[in-house]
Symmetry: C2
Subunit: 159 residues, 2 copies
DNA sequence: ACTGAAAACAATTGCGA
DNA sequence: TCGCAATTGTTTTCAGT
């Protein structure tokens, strides 16, 4: 049960950089007709290899020029505390993305803000008010080196 | 010079979750004709409020189930060292996303791997071989709490 | 499983308001 | 800036290989 073949891998490489190309253009690049190419794309979406299709919005253009990575340590690693914290993350719009991790830290958050003052208000409300949080460290993002979210697509052997 | 208005903000909220909806459907949701809606989308793309349009690929489906966040400290914060490191990041496919930050750490990397063994090979090649790197810490991702990359879109006042 | 033609559908452009 | 109508272009379906 293989999810995709060599040609699908090429298609995935293309659409994870730009999903608005026509099937015609993608087909030309991978040596397929527009029709065949489109069928494959549909299939990749149906089986979940392609999880979603989104526009990337410029945080700066949209009034949130400040970005931070925050490393959070919880008071105790108890599953109810972790679950409660996850719920809080989900409903907080400033937190764009977040990861539960093992290591020195429990959670890594990617946070955007209108300004440093706003971020300080946010930290006061979100971190200091929360008794489950032992501590946190803020890393201010100066530059994003890789723009995309592209994953290197494994090219499978043909069977 | 305002980049976008209230209606554009609604459109942005929609397309950053799903950019394959037709202008008709988006238009219905924001109270606009398909034509008007599409003109706005084109404009938002032209002026860079929408930075790009991509498919999100499942790292798991594509043979890279292991994800790590790596905190890297460089030997010295010299701009030539930083630039050289940024170049290395860009050409390394395992590194999906990376940030240059201020704080205890210089860089935060988001890395995917086929397996832990692969990741160890990668660290040996990438980190230990690089004399510019003072140290690094690996945080293994157990769970991604927020799936998307959605930024909360500021709704501007009308002038 | 692919191609190619035709039908259905969506995006773009021109125009009047 | 909008909506409508006409045009252009894209996607989907279907028959044939």
């Amino acid at each position: 049960m293989k999810l995709y073949d060599r040609i699908d891998a090429s298609i995935l490489e293309i659409v994870q950089k730009n999903n608005r190309l026509t099937s015609q253009v993608i087909g030309d690049q991978v040596g397929l007709s527009a029709t065949a190419c489109q069928r494959r794309l549909k299939r990749l979406r149906d089986i979940g290899v392609i999880e979603g299709d989104v526009s990337i919005i410029s945080a700066r253009a949209v009034g949130r020029p400040i970005q931070m990575i925050v490393l959070v340590t919880l008071e105790r690693e108890r599953s109810d505390i972790i679950d409660r914290f996850k719920r809080a993350l989900r409903i907080t719009p400033e937190i764009v993305n977040s990861f539960y991790v093992t290591g020195e830290t429990d959670f890594v958050l990617y946070v955007t803000a209108r300004s440093m003052e706003d971020y300080e208000v946010f930290t006061r409300n979100f971190f200091y008010e929360n008794p489950d949080i032992r501590g946190f460290k803020t890393l201010v993002v100066m530059d994003r080196v890789k723009a995309g979210f592209s994953v290197p697509v494994e090219v499978p052997d043909e069977d």
